[in-house]
Symmetry: C2
Subunit: 337 residues, 2 copies
């Protein structure tokens, strides 16, 4: 089997670490792992298949001989380095928002729109975490019932903000347990025992960038005709985003039929038996690959409507796993030289 | 000024304690405070205006001479004792679900439907916490724009479950901080760093009792024509329920006009200036009387739609304060002998 040189850019970040773990766990055919990070981190190491691999600087020249470069460094870093990586011969799978809405860049959830990869020009965008899990759950329902409108409220874990946020929540717990004052630096308010209706920057229209990602990316990935009305909220949870999703469909939809479709859908695990208290929670999703769906029930307030509760590990399917799956699908579709 | 004998039934519970504090803070004209609780707690004391008051048994005979009996003992206790209290001459303001949907019992949010008190027969029902704060925020918008449909997802604090849940979250924090195993007894799963889409029992239709309270109580209090599609979720927060509320209205609605109406509305405090990171969070509401509203923005996915983020202290406006306000309004309307 052919093997590939894989760079992970931002290798020491929360998503970068998860990317390396995912490559290992899925036995991705890695010839050489090339962990890249900012200059200050050069010389640190990452663990891969039981070996320590030294981190190199993410810069021009670092991508020569690299087949796949999985980026998770934020939009500015991607805008600067992704074209360099492509010039040097790599396929970039980028986890930032930098290229997602660029018309020439495929934005891909492998279970939803793998064919969008075929016209790629070197950069593939990995969608926003909240969008990925919602669309994995909604794709089979859209195929069957034609979704017209989505009203979604999120319960998003702090690991989506990165390692400093993970440390901040841990520190706030320790301060609280020890009776010390609680310090907020990463978030504008205390996140422990709180909920912030604020993820990413606010825009003129009153929505946040995070919310508009769910609107725009859903249209690009699934169907431009779908209207999305989102509210994105940060909650004191380490891993696992939850979404309360209300859909209105063109065709009559039935919770029982939806449940069966979701049971058969790729990447989905149905946990839905309320009489036995079976429903997904973020702790169920922690470290898991699947998008978990429960609380599937009729919305009787519209002609055709359903509610769902969708939970997934934001660092895995919401980021690292989706990126690695994109690479796998590109290999399977013969898109890699 | 006339003074009243006020019994608090369930005086040692989370809501009972908040009722006593609220009576004190609002200088409610209390002649005698009569704290009642289960037999096992007789002899314990509560603090009221700097004095210790002994807890007596909540039972037949305890309500003789009592003007108002504020109940917070759960539905079974209310079903048994509220009629006894009425027989003995008290007006019962009951925080449980026992009497809310009884056609002869007023279900009242003072800012919304005070006139419903006029036909009372001795028992007044205090609505569910999630309903109260939602309706305080929506009443002025319904008056102006006629709300047709509400899609709401909640972020509910654990104090709504009572003192054992407060202790459970504290214990889980201590276990986590000390590296000990986390024990869940009050909730079916760990609540720390988790979210449970499950409040109160599940019903045949897939909704929980908590969710159906929001549906049915909204119709009874505000307007039977309003359709509500709710998802109720418990999050690891001590105090303060948040709600992501999406409304569809008959008449054109505008975020600016809505904001001005809410600024003028009784019981509401608008915190809505995203450019300055002004929005309400549960910690802002902790210990406060108001219903806080922020993130007021147009929903462009329907002809006439708005989103709001509504936060309030579930033990105060969601329970104790609303009950005390009902007593105040009854005095003002001359409904007390």
């Amino acid at each position: 089997m052919k093997q590939y040189n894989v760079a992970v850019v931002g290798a020491l970040g929360a998503v970068g670490q998860e990317m390396i773990k995912t490559l290992e766990q899925r036995n991705f055919p890695v010839k050489e792992l090339v962990p890249l990070d900012m200059a200050a981190n050069v010389g640190k190491t990452v663990q891969f298949h039981g070996r320590s691999v030294a981190v190199k600087a993410a810069r021009k020249g670092a991508f020569v001989g690299v087949d796949f470069a999985l980026f998770s460094v934020g939009a500015d870093g991607s805008l600067e380095l992704a074209p360099v990586a492509v010039d040097e011969g790599a396929i970039v799978i980028d986890n930032s928002a930098a290229w997602r809405m660029d018309p020439g860049t495929p934005l891909v959830v492998p279970e939803v729109n793998p064919a969008a990869l075929d016209g790629h020009k070197g950069i593939i965008a990995n969608p926003n975490c909240s969008t990925i899990q919602m669309l994995v759950a909604l794709k089979p329902l859209h195929d069957a019932f034609r979704i017209k409108r989505i009203v979604v409220s999120t319960y998003q874990a702090i690991s989506g903000t990165g390692t400093p946020a993970i440390q901040e929540l841990k520190d706030q717990v320790k301060s609280w347990a020890g009776g010390a004052p609680i310090v907020a630096k990463v978030y504008p308010r205390q996140i422990l025992f709180n909920a912030l209706p604020h993820i990413d920057d606010f825009l003129e229209n009153g929505y946040t960038k995070e919310e508009m990602k769910m609107v725009n990316e859903t249209k690009k990935i699934l169907d431009p005709a779908i209207e999305v009305c989102p509210t994105a909220v940060r909650v004191p949870i380490f891993r696992g985003h939850s979404e309360s999703v209300n859909i209105e469909t063109e065709k009559p939809c039935d919770p029982g039929a939806a449940r069966e479709m979701l049971r058969a859908a790729p990447g989905v695990k149905v946990m839905d038996d309320p009489s036995k208290l079976v429903y997904p929670t973020p702790l169920d999703a922690d470290g898991q690959d699947a998008v978990f769906v429960g609380r599937i029930r009729k919305d009787p307030t519209v002609r055709n409507g359903l509610n769902l509760w969708v939970v997934s590990d934001n660092l895995r399917k919401g980021a690292a796993l989706n990126a690695v799956q994109i690479a796998e699908v590109m290999i399977a579709r013969g898109l890699v030289k």
